[in-house]
Amino acid sequence: MTDSLLAISLRTLLWALGSTLLAFFPAIALAYLLARRDFFAKRCLSALFSLPAVLPPTAVGYLLLRLLADQGLLGRENLGFDVAILFTWKAILLACSVMAFPLIVRTARISFEAVDPQLERIGRSLGYPPWQCFYKITLPLAARGLFAAAILGFTRAMGEFGASIMIAGNIPGRTQTIASALYSAQQSGHDTQAMQLLLLALFLGFVAVYSAEYLARPKTSATNP
């Protein structure tokens, strides 16, 4: 153990935050599309983007590894340059984003679906184009749910282990997170450190889930009869 507990925690929090931000905006766009539009292969698209939530994380990690390997679809030989992601902190961000993505989409989609589309139609009759109706009506009404989605994505990213370890490894001081540090501590018999990391994970997880629960229950209903 060369890393302090504080450094591991800060790094994990930072990476979780970064990957949540990375996944959040495309996830919101997809969630809105799935909530509001009917289009060809909608179910197919929805299922495809839900896969990271149901596959073993190591399988997702392995898929990313194959994609980013030198001969992979996004590897050096195909792109003509080295994206240099594997086994760096960027790989952690990528793995965490991919794993958090379906959770954010799912929660955001439910929040969008709870806003009656009739309100957007009224917005348009009042002279606002669709993007302004989204911005002025749907977004504020879904805001609490979207915030909850972000927090859930964040917790998923914080706890991510399987996919990250496949593409970023578990390099102390470079790509080690609370999850991978706990694994190392247990494997090498450092029980005190493992216990500390467990308590830390428990505390951060509880705060995040509690906030999400609180935010997911709106004070005012998004519909009016």
Binding site: D116, Q118, R121, S125, L126, Y128, I137, L141, S221
Partner: protein, 357 residues
Amino acid sequence: MKPPSLSIAIELALKSFRLELNLEFQGNVLGVWGPSGAGKSSLIEVIAGLNRQAKGRIAFGDICWQDSAQGQFIAPERRRIGYVPQAQWLFPHRSVIDNLLFGAHSTRGPLLEELCTLLELTPLLDRSVQQLSGGEKQRVALGRALNNQPRLLLLDEPITALDISLRRKILPYLLAIKARFQLPIILITHDPVELVALCDRVVQLEQGSLRHYGSPADILNAPEYYLSKQRSDFENILHAEVIEHSAHNTRLHYQGTTLLMPKASAALGERIYLSLPARELIIARQPSDQLSARNQIPARIVQQHLDRPVALLELATECQHSTLFAEITLDASQQLKLKIDDPVWIIFKSSSLTACS
């Protein structure tokens, strides 16, 4: 100045039928009438541009809103319409005043002040939407649509037939809007009083097709309308002028005769709409001063419909030949030997009259 004309020639496939309408309208208020599921709300949505599935042509004034053959379609936000749907009227995350100000052309100016007075919104302004009753929400939605300075107002009245008196609370406001704003209005309504009191012309839809286009009286005086009603449901609608208030009664002037009703709140000289259920009318060969019923009007029988458990008489009043319907038993009709063109007296109690506006 004449209001702009609305020209509609559209087709729209709905679940079990096609909505097909070909119509020119130039006037103040166009009523849309018909059973629920006849395609009325879809028609309003097509006019608003909120339903893009329809094919055909819609023009308002000299602006073409939609022409499918030319691939032309003006987005709803560019049509300058006011749209008040059946439900989900207000934005729940905004206060009443913020709802009223929500609109690309809305301002906090003299128009808003006038609307607040006209629709009695001033005491509601600082409230949250959740604190409003259904009728208040509907008024705020009307105010919000009007504050955006629309060129055409589209109103989709909900079918809340359960409580007709509650529904009629909106009528005086609609009358005030009609009188104040020379604004074309398309109104979906299920209330015969609204039809008579507000509409210049009425489109009657059935299964998506135009069944009739005419005056409100054409539609309400058609026997098939009466026959479609549940017994004891049908109301005659009278437009009368308040001429005198006494301690317990109000005297009204109606087509050359005087009517008496329980004391109404309307001012002297005001013209109000009254409802008179067909089942409340008594038909007599002679007037009588031996009865407690206070209202007696001379009339003539225009038509008799005897193919129901009760006889339906279509009567023309002596003075201005407006139509009233009376429901009496078949026995009574036979005993009085009533025939078409017979002069009769229509008799009813003052309490049979109810003010609607």
